[in-house]
């Protein structure tokens, strides 16, 4: 009983430490984003008025309404305050930013999760086999395939998939539009996860090949365990640790890639919303969207760290 109690508190302290490390990063990142956007040229208020421009009084009023007349640091703090109460401001088009995000986020989230699952399952699976048969035909083939996938930009892959499988073969609808289902998101998910799949494959392959010659694997074999069990229990489990870490960091790459993929397949997600906002110089939207994405990324990393501690008992003492 005492042993488990102590273990719980060790984990609790580990979690607490990680969360505390997160806070300065969060503050720094949001500040960075905010100041980057702050530097956007042009006067968005005037742009709202279109060709004719706005009468100064109205412009001033709007400016005050959007807090654009206050010094930078005040704006930032007001924004932070809003963030913590889930008030993400109002976009220049009038819609609540939180509403924009709320409607677009689930789609992108679903897309990202699908991509993550695809890349994880296939990446680890193929990587495992490649690692076990290192130097063989299977391994060499997939090494080349993974290199090509990484080398070709994601938008080209997107075009090709859309063209070949969407238009020519008709297996998937070429664009998604408002019809968001598991099936319609499949093609974009595959494209989105393709580059990461290649990285996961290579990482798994290297880790598995390394672990196969580990001392404890030899001891396991010497115990009289059959090969399948040795691989499953000793090699795979230990090889998952670096892969899990990578998947967490990869979420950031997925969110970047989503901008492109959603554009190609016309998915009504956050990537598209972001792109539209940037083009319109809609700073409230841009800041909020990017901030939300960064938060998601940081939380994902935190979860990955925790998962890491579950997978590798040595870490809990670090």
């Amino acid at each position: 009983m005492a042993a488990t109690g102590r273990k719980v508190s060790l984990m609790a302290w580990y979690v607490a430490r990680r969360v505390m490390q997160l806070i300065p990063v969060f503050l720094g990142a949001t500040l960075l984003i905010y100041s980057l956007v702050f530097l956007l040229p042009g006067d968005p208020i005037q742009a709202l008025g279109g060709e004719r421009g706005l009468p100064p009084a109205v412009a001033d009023q709007l400016r005050a309404h959007y807090n654009l007349d206050k010094p930078f640091i005040i704006q930032y703090l007001l924004y932070l305050k809003g963030l913590l109460s889930f008030d993400l401001g109002v976009s220049f088009s009038g819609r609540e930013v939180s509403e924009i995000i709320a409607s677009a986020f689930p789609t992108t989230f679903q897309l990202a999760i699908m991509a993550l699952v695809i890349e994880a399952v296939f990446g680890v699976g193929v990587g495992l086999i490649a690692g076990m048969r290192k130097g063989g035909i299977f391994d060499a083939t997939f090494l080349v395939v993974s290199l090509i996938v990484i080398a070709v930009p994601i938008f080209v892959i997107g075009f090709v998939v859309q063209f070949v499988f969407g238009v020519k073969l008709g297996w998937f609808p070429p664009t998604v539009g408002s019809d968001v289902t598991f099936y319609t998101l499949l093609a974009p998910a595959i494209v989105l996860g393709s580059v990461s799949f290649a990285y996961v494959l290579r990482l798994t392959r290297t880790t598995v090949a390394e672990n196969l010659s580990a001392d404890y694997v030899r001891t396991a074999t010497a115990k009289g365990l059959a090969r399948p069990r040795v691989v499953r229990v000793h090699v795979l489990r230990n090889s998952l640790i670096p892969v899990v870490t990578f998947l967490g960091v990869d979420l950031g790459a997925l969110m970047g890639g989503a901008v492109v993929t959603e554009g190609i397949f016309n998915v009504p997600g956050i990537g598209n919303a972001l792109y539209t906002a940037i083009k319109a110089q809609d700073s409230p939207s841009v800041v909020s969207i990017v901030t939300v994405l960064v938060i998601v990324f940081l939380i994902a990393n935190l979860l990955v760290d925790l998962l890491y501690a579950v997978l590798d008992p040595r870490i809990r003492y670090a």
Binding site: A3, L10, W13, A16, R17, M20, S213, A214, D215, Y216, R218, T219, A220, T221, A222, K223, G224, L225, A226, R227, R229, V233, H234, R237, N238, I241, L311, D312, P313, R314, Y317
Partner: protein, 668 residues
């Protein structure tokens, strides 16, 4: 002079025995690896026999092929290794022709392995108990009762499955102890009796018969019936705990739930032993099972292993680089060198009259044996070549280093942010190093000897106390003076593979001290480097090479050359020979001795190996857990140890039980 390998009869001429079949018979075994340079033979045709219940030791240095041969037996060769010739016959069957399935059945169940490095041989992500359980389930071992072997004590086959062999489960033990406590009531000595019974009853290992006996002795009435009612066999977890306690681990039930990184080195090794013996194999291959451990722990574990295997009747194939250890633990020795067997036979005979040149060198160089010989010689009052080499003349009282009340406390970060624990690595240590002599700081891991050395080298600030070098207090020096001081004390470290910068050529490595301290010009420095290489008996052309091209012994010579570059007065040797093979070690020790005589150097020699101390040191400080336990001249410490711990260390030198006469060294 070619010698034949006829039967070499000993004075008591008994006819050689023919009455038993060998358990393991290796004939003409060849093992090859595929490298970039083609196929390389690691084992070049060796013969090896192990009889049931026998302990056979294979002795050799690195590269001799001893480990490779042993691993070939169970087909566990690393990388590209494979058996390319010869036969391995186990229990009458040629297993080199076996399929993968055959090997899986063989491993664990009939041949067990205890591997070398306890840290890397346990999977860090699974609990210890889990890893032991695997060994049981994979080999179909019953957890409920002890398995009897037939043909012991005349038991007939029918009686093999006796209930007396049922294991004690965790609940059963608790119940029985409770019953004992109530039965004994408040009598005098009741608590002691219960505690004793608690200690003697091991869950998963004690059988019903054992429980009956223990409880009977403790005074439990009707022990027979009670144990029969309660002891019904154990679960897998019980058996796992039982195996751990058989291997000598305390508090086995709790420990089984822990992870490998929570165990100490000795504990991990015991877990590996438990795994190796879990399925009660007929043969146990022990690959340097204690090389990574402290010397006292080594002795305890090996003693225990010896008892266990004797009790179970397990044959042991013991791999080691230490000839003294091998002779102490095994009946039969096989000496390997560069993939071949150069000598083999009964342990005593080989030690007393080695015939092959290599074996003779080993016997002459092994520190454990050398130290025994020197002791015996001095006890007999005989002056041998070895004892003569020890006299370093200089009995001048001038102390070049005096350490006064040195203390070093480290602050370790606790698991809670803000909390920390203080760890005292060195506790009020004082010693003196007379000029021109060697002072050894001896201790096991955690004794603080390296920390003390680092303070002498001024790599660590002492928390308290001071170091006086040639009359000057080091702590009082400013930065510039400290820089000049460094020329007078130089280190040589343990790991030859880490002590030289792989990016620096040998020339640059040796020249660096001269450059940093701005000694001479380019030409004079080059001359000095050549001089230094001569001093350590390496060809001058070596300076163009890089560390990765040199062997361990060669690298240590370079390290010595580098240390000598600035003409220091004191050299701190931090386990400088511990990582080297026996013969190379002997060469380096000789070199160090010669240099000391030539240049009047003083050595501060840090080591865990008391046997090496006998060969090189004039004075000894024995350290334990940060404190100095005993301090005297080497002679005194060896002949007249005062403290318990010192006696333990001396007893732990491998070969302690061997008696070697003063004249038993067969030339050197």
């Amino acid at each position: 002079m070619s010698e034949t390998n006829d039967t070499n009869t000993t004075p008591q001429a008994d006819a050689p025995r023919e009455d038993q079949q060998p358990l393991l018979a290796v004939r003409d075994l060849e093992v090859s690896f595929t490298t970039a340079a083609g196929e390389v033979k690691a084992v070049k045709g060796i013969d090896l026999t192990v009889y049931p219940g026998q302990t056979v030791a294979i002795v050799g240095e690195s590269g001799s092929g001893k480990s490779t041969s042993a691993h070939a037996v169970i087909n566990l060769l690393p990388g590209t290794g494979k058996v390319t010739g010869g036969t391995i016959t186990f229990d009458g069957k040629d297993i080199t022709k076996g399929s993968t399935k055959d090997y899986v059945a063989l491993r664990g169940r009939r041949i067990g392995l205890v591997p070398q490095d306890p840290m890397s041989n346990l999977n860090p992500v699974w609990r210890i108990g889990y890893q032991i359980k695997e060994a049981l389930t994979a080999n179909g071992v019953s957890s409920t009762r002890a398995e009897r072997q037939s043909l012991t004590s005349g038991i007939v086959a029918d009686e093999l499955l006796s209930d007396d062999d049922l294991y004690l489960s965790s609940e059963a033990k608790k119940k029985l102890l409770a019953e004992l406590r109530t039965a004994l009531g408040g009598r005098d000595g009741a608590d002691d009796a219960v505690a004793r019974a608690d200690e003697q009853l091991a869950v998963g290992s004690s059988t019903r018969a054992d429980a009956r006996r223990v409880l009977d002795e403790a005074g439990l009435p009707d022990a027979d019936a009670r144990t029969a009612a309660v002891v019904k066999g154990g679960s897998m977890n019980d058996r796992v705990a039982g195996l751990l306690s058989e291997a000598g681990l305390q508090d086995a039930e709790r420990r089984a739930r822990q992870y490998p990184h929570e165990f100490s080195g000795g504990m991990r090794q015991r877990a590996l032993i438990a795994i190796g013996l879990a399925a009660r194999p007929q043969l146990l291959i022990a690959d340097e099972p204690t090389s990574a451990l402290d010397v006292t722990v080594q002795r305890t574990i090996l003693d225990h292993l010896g008892e266990l295997t004797k009790e179970l009747g397990t044959a042991v194939l013991f791999i080691t680089h230490d000839l003294g250890l091998a002779a102490e633990r095994a009946e039969h020795l096989v000496v390997m060198y560069q993939g071949k067997v150069v000598e083999s036979g009964p342990a005593r005979q080989i030690l007393e009259s080695p015939k092959h040149a290599y074996t003779k060198r080993l016997v002459a160089s092994a520190p454990s044996l050398a130290s025994r010989r020197i002791q015996s010689a001095r006890a007999a009052g005989v002056d041998t070549e070895e004892t003569r080499a020890l006299h370093h003349g200089n009995e001048r009282a001038d102390d070049v280093i005096v350490a006064e009340n040195l203390t070093k406390v480290f602050r370790l970060r606790g698991s809670r942010p803000g909390s920390h624990t203080d760890f005292t690595a060195v506790d009020d240590v004082s010693f003196r190093l007379p000029r021109g002599t060697t002072l050894a700081l001896v201790g096991e891991s955690g004794s603080g000897k390296s920390t003390a050395a680092n303070m002498v080298l001024n790599l660590l600030e002492p928390t308290k106390g001071k170091i006086i070098f040639d009359g000057v207090d080091l702590t009082a020096l400013n930065k510039k003076e400290l820089f000049k001081f460094r020329r007078r004390v130089q280190p040589i470290f343990q790991n030859p593979y880490g002590s030289l910068d792989p990016m620096f050529s040998i020339f640059r490595s040796i020249e660096e001290p001269l450059r940093v301290h701005k000694v001479g010009n380019k030409k004079s420095r080059e001359k000095r480097v050549r001089e230094l290489l001569d001093m350590v008996s390496l060809p001058q052309a070596t300076m163009r090479r890089f560390p990765n091209e040199l062997s361990g012994g060669q690298r240590q010579r370079i390290a010595i050359a580098r240390a000598l570059a600035l003409e220091p007065e004191v050299i701190v040797c931090d386990e400088a020979v511990s990582a080297l093979d026996v013969l190379v070690q002997a060469q380096i020790l000789t070199l160090l001795n010669d240099l000391q005589a030539e240049l009047g150097l003083s050595y501060l020699f840090i080591t865990h190996d008391l046997a090496v101390v006998r060969q090189i040191a004039d004075h000894v400080c024995v350290m334990q857990q940060g404190k100095i336990v005993e301090q005297a001249s080497t002679d005194d410490v060896f002949e007249n140890p005062q403290q318990e711990y010192t006696k333990e260390l001396l007893a732990a030198i491998p070969g302690a039980t061997l008696t070697l006469g003063a004249g038993s060294q067969s030339g050197s």
